[in-house]
């Protein structure tokens, strides 16, 4: 009988200044099991894995690995090569692929000697073909990675690890960038590989996939392990309590009271821009006091629609009016002035100017306002005061209001954007994927703020790929498919799911 353990992290501790990112964490991985590492952003998941991979040198703790003959090795601290030699592989959340190289070159990078005349790729191709057959992870070997979809790139990342004969594979938030279908395929492939003896640790904060896919769950919070259990014994409520340390406050759904129409779109057509789907014959009226949910798989016209409402995309034909006033020349500035607040999809790139301070980002959409500038000169003390108020009110945490906003976490950047948008009291709020990538707490805070704005009388457009979120928030649900927007006449997931896949003529 061999030792059931393949990997054991013991007493892993890492301090950054006065912050304890990882506090004496013990974690065991058994052969052929899928262990889910669950926790909010900042719980210490990534720190722990970086210690395993030698990216960080732990202040205390050891990593033990057992090979196939049950021989125990203690990995030397802080040496990435040691983890590679122990055949531990990791698929990072941000892919580490060279886009200008073919799939094959990316996989072979580092696995073949650098100084050798010519290439010997035939064996590599054979091995990869076999791996692709076994795992069901198919990738075109001679295509440039830059031409692949996100889902395909992830398959390349996993194949890269499998090609190195890893025994332990760590997946960091593997589904963050995948469509639900791609995620299902990915998990099925992983299951096939686990059946062939691979052991997997996967990091996530999505409860449903953890429950569906893992054998065991370990929960981290504030750098400590707060719980560990077999997945079949786990109940949702107790996991969430371990993650957030309190009962999650799910905002109750109270139907909104629609008031006068705010945004009216009539028969809008736009071009397909930048490879994205355009809009064809879109009609929509959004009233004050209601949340309109736009469900659909991304790439079906959401970008064009969001661009239209925020004034970035010009319609080819059709009419836009805001508060009964026709917008003849829609521009970002005109839409902003007409009372539309925008929470952009890519909060890091479009939501903030990351090199500018938190205080500056909070006023960046209203630089004309008298409390921001007089005769072209910024009123620094007013801006700082405003930032003090808002960061407190919206609980924006970070190194301070004068710090570069790039230093904030994703959740805090979103709170900053919410503060900026909601404080101007907009008549309409365009929220594009407002909770994507946020943890429970930050996401429920966003939901609460959107409900608040609605009850105050604002109209809200919620664009989301997450059907659960749309169902939880929206008073009215529309489905976007292939550039068409169709009202869903039911709140049934199957009906809406079918519409998302284009199952009903638009």
């Amino acid at each position: 009988m061999t030792n059931p353990l393949i990997l054991s992290l013991r007493g892993m501790t890492k301090r950054f200044g006065s912050v304890v990112a990882s506090d004496a964490i013990d974690l065991d991985l058994q052969r052929g099991e899928v262990l889910a590492l669950l926790g909010e952003n900042g719980a210490g998941k990534t720190t722990l894995m970086n210690m395993l991979f030698g990216q960080y040198t732990p202040d205390a703790g050891t990593v033990h690995v057992w090979d196939d003959t049950d021989h125990e090795t203690v990995l030397p601290a802080g040496q990435p090569q040691a983890a590679i030699d122990a055949r531990i592989g990791m698929v990072h959340q941000h892919f580490t692929l060279a886009e200008n190289l073919s799939v094959l070159d990316n996989i072979l990078l580092g696995a073949e000697p650098l100084f050798r005349l010519g290439r010997h790729t035939r064996d590599a191709r054979e091995k990869l073909t076999r791996l692709m057959d076994d795992s069901g992870l198919i990738a075109p070997l001679d295509t440039r990675v830059g031409d692949l979809t996100v889902g395909e790139r992830q398959r390349v990342e996993i194949l890269k690890a499998l090609y190195r004969d890893v025994r332990i594979l760590v997946l960091d938030e593997p589904t963050a960038v995948l469509t639900p279908q791609e995620a299902d395929t990915m998990f099925a492939s992983m299951r096939a590989m686990v059946d062939r003896g691979l052991s997997v640790i996967f990091i996530s904060h999505k409860l449903h996939e953890v429950q569906a896919f893992s054998d065991r769950i370990a929960v981290l919070r504030h750098g400590r392990k707060t719980g560990e259990m077999a997945t079949k014994d786990a109940d949702t409520g107790s996991i969430i309590r371990m993650m957030v340390g309190e009962d999650l406050e799910v905002p109750p759904r109270v139907a909104g009271v629609p008031k006068k129409p705010i945004l009216e779109l009539k028969d809008i057509h736009t071009l397909n821009a930048g490879g994205g789907q355009g809009l064809s014959g879109l009609n929509l009226t959004v009233h004050g006091g209601e949340i309109v949910g736009i469900a659909g798989i991304s790439g079906n016209g959401q970008s064009a629609f969001a661009g239209l409402v925020s004034g970035l995309v010009q319609p080819q034909s059709g009419a836009i009016s805001v508060n009964g006033k026709a917008m003849l020349k829609p521009s970002p500035k005109a839409m902003l002035d007409a009372g539309i607040g925008r929470i952009p999809e890519d909060r890091h790139h479009d939501g903030i100017v990351s090199a500018m301070s938190v205080a500056e980002n909070l006023v960046i959409e209203r630089l004309d306002a008298p409390d921001v500038q007089t005769r072209g000169f910024l009123r620094k003390s007013q801006i700082a005061e405003n930032a003090q108020d808002l960061t407190q009110k919206y609980d924006v945490r970070g190194p301070g209001i004068e710090a570069r906003s790039a230093l904030l976490s994703g959740g805090n950047i979103q709170k900053l954007i919410l503060a900026r948008v909601l404080e101007t009291d907009p008549d309409l709020i365009l929220a594009n994927q407002p909770t994507r990538g946020l943890d429970f707490k930050a996401a429920s805070e966003v939901s609460r703020r959107l409900f608040e704005a609605r009850d105050r009388g604002a109209g809200v457009i919620l664009i989301s790929e997450d059907l659960d979120e749309v169902l939880a928030l929206a008073d009215r649900i529309l489905v976007m498919h292939n550039g068409h927007l169709v009202e869903a006449d039911s709140r049934d997931r199957t009906v809406i799911g079918l519409m998302m896949a284009g199952g009903r003529a638009a």
């Binding site: 990216q55 960080y56 990435p80 090569q81 590679i84 990791m90 990072h92 941000h94 580490t96 692929l97 060279a98 886009e99 200008n100 190289l101 070159d105 990316n106 072979l108 990078l109 580092g110 696995a111 073949e112 000697p113 650098l114 100084f115 050798r116 005349l117 010519g118 290439r119």
Partner: protein
């Protein structure tokens, strides 16, 4: 009009095009190698001057022509090492460091020259590379003068094109260099050293640049003059974009520029009475800019160009 057509039919025009292109071939290959690894090397203009001076001086001191080539390459490599330490290891601005290298290289070369030869008014001459004389081949009509009556350095340049192409396209090292210029994290995650790959590329690329300078003093002319590099390095920086960072296209770009330059000299003698000579001198540069505008709009830059990489920072 007939005269114009005759220019293109003459072997001397094509031979001159290839001769003028030779230093540019070295320079553009060097810049290509640096930039493929993610490092812009604006030190090229200065490294040309350094290569021109050291190569010439080595021969003048009695080292022999090929010894001069080695000295020029080594001095270029030294300046590459310097640029690499500043930009790859310390992660300083590649623009600032590169321009600094150009100013420093130009001045240091002139300083060394003046220190070694304080009293000389007319530059001392060396015995430069001679045109090849290969039996049969050099005597072929047209082909002979164009290809086989060039100097050995032109052939070295053409060989370097093939060598760089082979390394970039056919070896694992080339794959790693291209990867490090696109996504250094990908290279690091596989246990390869980003720093070593980039330092190696910058040093080797700078050595090639110096050979471009050495061609001027050891093949095209036989002495070192101040200002003789005259912007050739900068042209290479433009040509590498024109070439989309590919060795084959780099050769084409250099030849195209050589043709423009050879053409303007001939047009000047034909039409010089009517049109001011400066217009012709300007023409190759203007045409290069136009060619760049057309090609470079679609340029596929190495994604990590200009971006320093530090360990443990994602």
């Amino acid at each position: 009009m007939m005269d114009f057509v005759n220019i293109f039919l003459s072997d001397s025009f094509w031979a001159a095009s290839l001769r003028i292109a030779t230093p540019l071939i070295f320079g553009v290959l060097g810049a290509l190698l640096c930039e493929r690894s993610g490092v812009l090397n604006l030190g090229i203009e200065g490294i040309f001057v350094v290569g021109a001076m050291t190569g010439w001086m080595a021969v003048w001191l009695g080292m022999g022509l090929w010894g001069g080539i080695v000295v020029a390459a080594l001095s270029g490599a030294l300046f590459g090492l310097f640029h690499g330490i500043l930009t790859v290891i310390f992660g300083l601005s590649q623009h600032v460091s590169g321009l600094g290298i150009t100013l420093f290289g130009t001045s240091a070369a002139s300083f060394a020259y003046r220190t070694a030869l304080p009293q000389v008014s007319s530059p001392p001459r060396i015995e430069p590379f001679r045109a090849l004389d290969i039996p049969i081949l050099s005597d072929l009509p047209f082909i002979g003068p164009v290809l086989f009556q060039q100097t050995a350095m032109t052939w070295l340049a053409l060989f370097m094109v093939a060598l760089v192409w082979w390394v970039m396209e056919k070896t694992a090292l080339g794959v790693a260099i291209k990867a490090v210029g696109d996504n250094p994290d990908a290279v690091n995650a596989q246990g390869l050293s980003v720093i070593k790959l980039r330092m190696g590329s910058v040093i080797a690329g700078s050595a090639l640049m110096a050979l471009g300078g050495a061609f001027l003093t050891m093949s095209a002319f036989d002495a070192f003059f101040f200002g003789m590099v005259n912007g050739r390095g900068w042209i290479c920086i433009a040509l590498v974009i024109f070439a989309s960072w590919q060795p084959g296209k780099a050769l084409m770009g250099a030849l195209l520029f050589g043709m423009f330059d050879a053409l303007q000299v001939r047009l000047q003698t034909q039409a010089g009475a009517v049109i001011p000579g400066q217009i012709f001198l300007m023409a190759p540069y203007v045409l290069s800019i136009i060619a760049l505008v057309i090609v470079a709009r679609k340029a596929d830059y190495p994604r990590a160009l200009l971006t320093p990489w530090f360990k443990g920072q994602r």
